[in-house]
Amino acid sequence: MLRIPCPYCGERNYTEFTYGGDANQARPANPATVSDTEWEAFLYRRGNPAGEHIEYWQHSFGCRQWLKVVRDTVTHDIVSMGGHGMEGGEKA
């Protein structure tokens, strides 16, 4: 089913990867100044979209890079993907 195009290793089977959850939340730069509500949102509040979703995957049985992957949760299509600095990502 899922074939994930790792930017370092090429297209690989999803069984080589480990899912790492929602990638929409960036860690606040200075957590001490963040309110309890904001911190709770960072820790626990997650969207559950039917459609495109940015999420972390680690290529555990490959280059061990953590990747940001845009996956369509309805079709499982990998829409785009990239590393840490991904802005919108590269088209898969």
């Binding site: 089913m1 074939r3 911190w39 061990r64 840490h84």
Partner: protein, 983 residues
């Protein structure tokens, strides 16, 4: 031995020179290489092969392929057999042994058939309605019902067959090696596409093998062989016979099971595109007693005659609603059988050459079948007149159903009803992006069209794949002997008259009456009717029954068949054995098993192992001739560490090296206690939190050199900690210059613990100064032992004076044996995990996964004081959340057994009063029960909402009923000031 129904024709797929002997229901028969079990049984005149599921009616062989609903047998020695195999798909081999199912004491005299006397009651929903009341009685009913229900018996011994898995990738997967599939594969292969061609049968060619046809001037068989030879000569083509594509999944993934002589292979195929050339399956007719042995599909008769030289009857009648069955009449006559009559439902019969002297009755119906264990005669009705026609074979054809299952895995919107077929066909030639439908499964009727569609599909696929151009495959010339006959069927499948049962689904014994009852009771959706009556829910998934059932339901509801719609198509297309899905991953191969470099020594010296993550670790050592129990051995091992000296294999602990300019900063951000600031050649105990504030892992951080650290993790968390570190380095602080390298497997590590450990070490490395000044507690030194780099740590988990010694993994055994030798004068003994547990509980050291279970903060377990500085680390902000700072959170406490004897049960809850079964509030739980060799009494660690030491509680195991009165103590039972480990 003679095979009465076998004829001697040329060009059959059996090899007459190779006779095979086989047993069916205890009787020996002969067949030939190339036979299926079904063809060999029919050759021997065996029609009765099984009993039906519900009514135990005698059943014969209906078809010649995957659609077979009746002829399910057990294959192999009883107990080691495989149940529910279709006789039509089992290749005959010498010594084959098979038996009928669902009958007792024998196939011919089956007591279960008495159930037919009660059959008026056994309608759809019988079990639901009858056994509802009283509800307590269900468990009694269930035993009887379970015994009577089900198909076949499960084997009782280990499955000795071999299973394996393969992952494959191709440009084009072609499903079905009939005329369309062969053409599609050839067209794409000529354009250099990587092609996998799959067919469920052993002999490729599909429908061509049962037709009397010449292609490109050759017989069909010759043409198939020549086409296959061209394909097999290409390296880019893989041909897989006896392979079923059982499922189509997202993104071009297909599941295949290949049957070989050795066993089964599960292929997981990723195809860029696919061609469906799956053909069509013939439908039976629905009439009174249509399940009698000797009632067979007309197309199957052609296959038995033309492939296997088997004529299943001497005098046949044919009952049809379409032209294609007339070919069966011609075929039977060529084979020397008599055709008593063709009974055609339609107003007009086609004019078919070669059948001038056969009686053809139009607007006629079969209203009854005589002969309970084999057809003796059929009763027919023409107009209002009834007639009896003696025959020993009734060939039926109710039209053909294109095999669209794989296309429909993933949605029915790819299908549309087609009146000519009386069935559903794909909406277009590429109904799913990337999947081409071609040939009969795409609604193509004449062979020329089927071949042309195959070529077109292959070309279209190659074009879409961007393959280079090549000379296209020419459409071969087709010559039918006697003219081609159409499978277009009249829209009737059912005879209204007649007194017997009219089966729609032969495998599940679903009759027309059951469907009518379901409708009378208010079921309207075909999905509900299916579930209520079990129509199409057998192992054949209604391949011969679904369309007829839908037609009957549509008619009763006054709807069109496409308004009723189809049920959902789901994988697998045919049953897949659990063995094939498991492949090699069973027993010890179910998961990775990791062994320490010293494992073999442990095995040789009586170690009893226990799993720890993927590792096997010694739990205790059962010394030869001592017959010690776990507890006895572990107490002895633990006491030896306290009194003398012991060694333990701790190679499994996770080890990660962290290097780089920002390594110290990186570690400070991960640990609660600024582990990056540890001094050179010093170790520091560190605790890591998850971002939500709960303790994640603990271990030591050792500064090996400037900008180079070695951290240890718990055995089971080694992978998770690595991943956690990589995540924060790559995704959270990519600006930090850090390199992370797991080195667990590179080192063998031995813990040396006990008051005599320094003497042992001094004897092991006489040239090293191992005094307390030279190597103090939490000190580190790199030394040379027997010529290899050796890491020496002064770390203690047991609470004694102790060291950890690490050598490159290959030298682990050498180190272990050298330590035993050096320690011999001091009474050294190895100790296992159980003794290690006693020692660390006594010392109040905690373990991730037992005491620290993902719900405790550093404050809960008395480690709040370790938190250093005021800068950020992972989890720090969460510790300020209200719920984590509130009073009354359970905290770590110790317990001793109040009477000094009663063991403290594992997983016990803590309550205030002695447990009598009356509910009480839980005040906490025991996390680590153990035994203190020092106090000589049971002790435990736990998390509880208690304040005062010396208080009394009861530790109760709700599962085993054990309980112990316990006294609350501090969570350290031995050497609370740590003098021994610093000494």
């Amino acid at each position: 031995m003679t095979q009465p129904n076998r004829i001697a024709w040329d060009g059959l797929q059996i090899d007459r020179r190779r006779a095979l002997s086989f047993r069916f229901n205890g009787k020996t028969y002969q067949g030939y290489e190339g036979d299926t079990l079904a063809s060999a049984l029919l050759a021997n005149g065996v029609h009765l092969v099984g009993r039906s599921f519900k009514y135990h009616r005698p059943r014969g062989i209906l078809s010649a392929g995957v659609e077979e609903p009746n002829a399910l047998v057990e294959l192999g020695r009883e107990g080691a057999h495989q149940p529910n195999l279709r006789a039509t798909e089992i290749p005959l081999f010498d010594g084959l042994e098979a038996r009928s199912q669902n009958c007792w004491p024998s196939l011919k005299w089956d007591l279960g058939a008495a159930v037919q006397l009660a059959s008026p009651m056994l309608t759809a929903g019988f079990y639901y309605k009858t056994f509802m009341q009283p509800s307590w009685a269900w468990r009694h009913y269930e035993k009887v019902i379970r015994k009577a229900a089900g198909l076949g018996k499960a084997p009782t011994v280990r499955d000795e067959a071999r299973y394996d898995k393969r992952h494959q990738y191709c440009d084009l997967l072609v499903v079905g090696a009939g005329p369309a599939g062969l053409m599609a594969a050839t067209s794409a292969a000529r354009r250099s596409a990587r092609v996998i061609l799959v067919d469920e049968r052993r002999e490729l060619g599909g429908m061509l093998l049962e037709e009397s046809v010449h292609i490109a001037g050759q017989t069909a068989k010759q043409w198939v062989q020549q086409t296959l030879a061209e394909l097999e000569a290409l390296e880019t083509v893989t041909v897989l016979p006896r392979t079923t594509v059982f499922g189509r999944y997202r993104h071009g993934k297909f599941g295949l099971v290949q049957h070989t002589e050795q066993g089964q292979v599960l292929h997981s195929v990723h195809a860029r595109r696919a061609v469906m050339a799956t053909g069509a399956i013939e439908r039976p007719m629905v009439f009174s007693d249509n399940d009698r042995p000797g009632v067979m599909l007309a197309g199957a008769i052609r296959r038995y005659i033309r492939c296997y030289g088997v004529v299943p009857g001497r005098r046949a009648a044919i009952f049809t609603n379409n032209d294609s069955a007339y070919e069966t009449a011609r075929c039977l006559r060529e084979a020397g059988a008599e055709v008593a009559a063709i009974v055609d439902l339609r107003e007009r019969a086609p004019s078919v050459a070669g059948l001038d002297d056969v009686e053809i009755l139009t607007q006629a119906e079969v209203v009854g079948v005589q002969g309970s264990q084999h057809v003796k005669a059929v009763e027919i009705e023409v107009g209002s007149k009834r007639r009896r026609i003696a025959c020993d074979l009734l060939c039926v054809s109710g039209g053909w159903t294109p095999t669209i299952h794989l296309l429909a895995h993933g949605g029915k919107d790819t299908l549309a009803y087609d009146a000519a077929w009386g069935a559903f066909i794909p909406t277009c030639s590429e109904p799913v992006p990337g999947i081409h439908a071609t040939g009969a499964c795409n609604g193509a009727q004449s062979l020329v069209n089927i071949l042309a569609q195959g070529i077109a599909a292959g070309e279209a696929a190659a074009e879409a794949l961007g393959c280079e151009a090549a000379t296209p495959v020419a459409l071969p010339e087709v010559q039918h002997r006697g003219g081609e006959l159409s499978p277009s069927a009249a829209p009737v499948c059912e005879v209204r008259g007649g007194r017997g049962k009219k089966f729609v689904d032969l495998q599940d014994d679903v009759t027309v009456r059951d469907l009518e009852l379901a409708l009378r009771e208010g079921y309207r959706s075909i999905e509900h009717v299916k579930r209520y009556t079990t129509l199409g829910m057998g192992t054949d998934q209604g391949r011969t029954s679904n369309i007829n059932g839908m037609r009957i339901v549509a008619e009763r509801l006054g709807k069109r068949i496409d308004e009723v719609g189809t049920t959902t198509f789901r994988p697998p297309f045919t049953p897949v054995s659990l063995g094939a899905l498991a492949g090699r991953e069973s027993d010890r191969r179910l998961d990775v098993l990791r062994r320490s470099p010293i494992h073999d020594w442990h095995v040789r010296n009586g170690a009893v192992f226990m799993p720890s993550g993927l590792w096997l670790r010694p739990q205790y050592y059962r010394r030869p001739g001592h017959g010690e129990t776990l507890t006895e051995a572990a107490r002895k091992e633990a006491a030896n560490v306290r009194d003398k000296v012991g060694i333990a294999d701790v190679s499994t602990l996770g080890k990660i090296e962290v290097q780089g300019r920002d390594a110290a900063e990186f570690l400070n951000r991960l640990y609660i206690n600024r582990c990056g600031n540890v001094g050179l050649h010093k170790a520091r105990y560190g605790v890591m939190l998850r971002e939500d504030g709960f303790v994640f892992d603990d271990g030591t951080v050792v500064k090996l050199a400037d900008n180079r650290y070695l951290i240890s993790t718990t055995t089971v968390n080694a992978g998770a900690v690595l991943s956690h570190m990589e995540f924060h380095q790559q995704m959270v602080w990519p600006e930090l210059s850090v390199h992370i390298e797991p080195v667990t497997e590179q080192w063998a590590v031995v813990a040396l613990a006990g008051p005599a450990s320094r003497e042992v070490l001094a004897r092991l490395m006489p040239e090293e100064d191992v005094s307390n000044q030279a190597l103090p507690f939490l000190g580190y030194r790199e030394v040379c032992f027997q010529g290899v780099t050796t890491r020496l740590f002064r770390i203690s988990f047991s609470g004694e004076l102790a060291y950890e010694i690490a050598v490159p993994a290959d030298h682990g055994l050498t180190l272990w044996e050298a330590l035993l030798e050096a320690g011999e004068p001091f009474g050294i003994m190895p100790y296992g995990l159980e003794a290690m547990d006693y020692l660390r509980i006594e010392k109040g050291h905690l373990i991730i996964g037992t005491d620290i279970d993902g719900r405790v903060t550093p404050h809960d377990i008395g480690l709040g004081g370790m938190i250093r500085g005021d800068d950020d680390f992972i989890g720090r902000r969460s510790l300020q959340r209200p719920a984590l700072t509130e009073e009354g959170r359970p905290r770590l406490v110790g317990f001793v057994s109040a009477d000094g004897e009663t063991p403290i049960p594992a997983s016990a809850q803590l309550v205030a009063e002695r447990w009598t079964g009356t509910p009480q509030d839980s005040l906490g739980r025991i996390t680590s029960p153990g035994f203190s060799p020092v106090l000589d009494c049971p002790i435990a660690l736990g998390l509880a909402e208690v304040e005062a030491e010396g208080g009394s509680l009861y530790a109760v195991s709700p599962l085993t009923g054990e309980q112990a009165e316990v006294t609350v103590t501090r969570p350290v039972f031995h050497d609370p000031k740590g003098e021994r480990l610093r000494g």
